[in-house]
């Protein structure tokens, strides 16, 4: 145990440097976030108009307040779990830096994980928490939405950790595509869009037709965003909540195994190319 602790300590600077990088470019960082927030506000206005145009007050089990909360918490989740691992891999494959990283006496995947942890930590403090406070208190005082229960917050946090791991491993696998494809920018945009939609970040998965819901339940998308947000809202109760968390755990394990298989394949190919 002592040894593995010391081993992990080697990776902490990678997490720290990620935070320092964000701090060094904080103006551009916040300008980008503000751009994202503008897009969320479009969704906000849109849902507001949708509920005002509806004959009933509940759509697919959501009240207007719940739906607006869904939009905000979903955004917070996307921000916290971050991403960017695929860019790091892509960049290092293109520049050839990856070769040096392979001969360093550290585990490449753990190093990337610590970098992702760094941005998780920073983005949660800089974006998610302030937005969460704002949403919670504004809704509490304006429309009288009750404060979220501690149980729901706890479930959300457990689920968020797994979302983070799933998203990290997913991006790790995806980033390995850089060994085969040169246009990572375009491919990444395709991935971001699909995941955003299929993970329920744009519209809750409950709105999808049943066949599509069934189809995407074979993929990890729902576990990335939909599950934590629904747990936060208290929409999954009792056994459903446990089941949702179990599915997330399953994806963490499956993607971990897959990432290692793909990693071995990709690096083997790299050796051949390097000649």
């Amino acid at each position: 145990m002592e040894v593995s602790k010391r081993k992990l300590r080697v990776y902490i600077p990678f997490a720290k440097s990620e935070i320092q990088r964000a701090l060094a470019y904080r103006l551009s960082f916040f300008a980008f976030i503000l751009g994202d927030i503008l897009q969320v506000s479009v969704a906000f206005y849109l849902w507001n108009a949708i509920f005002n145009s509806s004959s009933g007050t509940i759509i697919n089990g959501f009240t207007k307040t719940q739906m607006l909360t869904y939009v905000v918490i979903s955004f917070i989740t996307v921000m916290s779990i971050g991403g960017g691992t695929e860019w790091i891999i892509g960049g290092e494959v293109q520049s050839g830096e990856i070769a040096i990283n392979l001969i360093r006496p550290i585990n490449y995947q753990i190093r990337l994980l610590f970098q992702a942890l760094g941005s998780l930590f920073w983005q949660t403090i800089a974006i998610s928490l302030p937005l969460w406070f704002m949403q919670t208190f504004v809704f509490y005082f304006t429309v009288g939405q009750p404060l979220p229960s501690l149980a729901n917050i706890g479930l959300y946090l457990i689920s968020l950790v797994m979302s983070f791991l799933i998203w990290f491993l997913f991006n790790f696998c995806f980033g390995l595509m850089a060994f085969y494809v040169t246009y990572m920018w375009g491919l990444n945009m395709l991935k971001e869009t699909l995941v955003r939609f299929l993970s329920g970040a744009i519209i809750p998965l409950m709105f999808f037709p049943i066949w599509l819901q069934k189809f995407i339940s074979f993929f990890p998308f729902g576990s990335i965003n939909y599950t934590p947000v629904m747990l936060y809202l208290g929409k999954f109760k009792g056994n459903d909540a446990l089941k949702a968390l179990g599915v997330q755990l399953l994806w963490v394990v499956l993607l971990f195994v897959l990432s290692n298989i793909l990693w071995k394949k990709a690096t083997k190919r790299l050796t051949i190319m390097g000649g």
Binding site: L27, S28, F29, A31, F32, L34, G35, D36, L38, Q39, S41, V42, Y45, L46, N48, A49, I50, N52, S53, S54, S55, I59, N60, V181, T182, Y183, G186, L187, M189, L190, T193, L194, R196, F197, I202, I203, F207, F208
Partner: protein, 263 residues
Amino acid sequence: MKKYIKLYGKFVSQYLKFMMQSKVNFFIGFFGFLTTQATGIAFLYLVFQNIPSLNGWSYYEILFIYGFAQLPRGIDHLFTDYIWMMGMRVVVRGEFDRYLLRPINPLFHLISERFQPDAFGELAVGTVITSIAAAKLGIKLSFGKIIIFLVLILAGAVIYTAIKLFFATLAFWIKNSLPIMNLVYSMSDFAKYPNSIYSKFVQGVITIIIPFAFTAFIPASYFTGKTSLALALGGTVSVAIVSFSIAYAFWLYGIKSYESAGN
């Protein structure tokens, strides 16, 4: 003018040769932008399963605006994508010197650096969606209307270019203006839906300050009969002329203030 058209043709044909070498990349980009817009439409479709109309706008009316919005955006994207690089790295890397040394207009030179076929994804979605929506709404296409349609789309594209150019020009002073360009560009999302769903403040911003409303909502709603021809055509064209003049004047002023990064 003739010289410029000929030159641009040469640039594009060079670029197309390059593109043919990497067809995979073309398809990735094409599907990337196509999917982005397709999910937006899927969202609208799913929402309209639950409501009859949105603030008095039917599904196909909203779809028409949404599809229309892609067309000026796609045209601008196709031709002037390199303006993003202007904001991101041209000044930082000292590359701007090159544009000043050649005997052609620097803005033309900058723009002809890239022809962006990714935009065909947006244009394809836009064309298909506007056609379907127009057919469902029973919009009759007379010769006059087609001309008006084309003029509105071109004017909308000019507005996009002007907004991008204006904020890219800031790079002459702040070196990297990409974050602020990205921020402003995000506001174009507002124009994809009817203005009436927003607060008065937001409406004011996207009509007057950053006039994205004229790239989609205002011109498109002329065809659905909710805006007068005077506002749609007159407004859009004059906003295009004014915004491009301001952006271009600012750009010229920026060039004057440019200090090279070289030694």
